[in-house]
Amino acid sequence: MNSSIHWFRFASPASFYPLAGRLVPWFAIAAAILAAIGLWVGLVVAPTDAQQGDAYRIIFIHVPAAWMSMFIYVVMAFWCAISLGFNARLAAMLAQALAPTGALFTAIALWTGALWGKPTWGTYWAWDARMTSELILLFLYFGYIALRNAIDDPRRADRASSVLALVGAVNVPIIYFSVKWWNTLHQGASVSLSAAPKMAAIMLTGMLVMTFAAWFYAIAVVLVRTRSIILDRERGAAWISETVG
């Protein structure tokens, strides 16, 4: 009972704003420390791979970025569902803040995937299932952002883009399944393009550390963006003049 009261206390932009402000430095510092550790593990400690040489080190960016791109979309869709179900402004603002960071991680995953593909499989873009699905995910992010920008009324934009995000979320497994099937049909029995080097424990450690670094970075950036959105959209509210005026 106590925990649910605490939860809803932060459901208003006015009380979330200072909470987010206090949280940002912690997540930013944690992200920086974890990134430093992860980079050291990935670039220095982890041994050179027998098959892929030093090119495999790209996975320490590529895999965390890909995981975050999908994770952020799920979180975004979750907040969209909350905003529709509870008619909650703040939940919609959180979703609005998540989208650009999610799109950025998707772009990083695509970029690093292409640069990893060239030395290891001979081509920058091989139309494999995971990269193609990642590209479609980027389109889904862009669609959400574009729809938000195309509707002037903020609450209408909230609701329309939330419906879109949920429709997208439902379709993502279907799209992935269909692209995977398409890939097997057309690639035939060629090299398995998703083969990562056999995971030495240290490689897995490096990837996990970088994933947490990315996660905490994302939280920090999204919280700052949410604060901006709150200030922009709640302009005129009394609590704002007291806090920043």
Binding site: R57, W111, T112, W116
Partner: protein
């Protein structure tokens, strides 16, 4: 050290990945902070203007 820079011949790909990623992250972080400062300034001005 030179092996670190050349990454066994794959330097272009590895550093192309790491540096572009670092650049994008820095750009996002800077842009987000700049936007926040601008929003805060605008909110403060709006408050004072009333």
């Amino acid at each position: 050290m030179s092996d670190f820079l050349t990454m066994g011949g794959y330097g272009f790909y590895v550093w192309g990945s790491y540096l572009v990623t670092a650049l994008l992250i820095v750009i996002e972080a800077v842009a987000v902070c700049a936007r926040f400062k601008a929003s805060r300034r605008a909110a403060a001005d709006a408050g004072r203007g009333r």
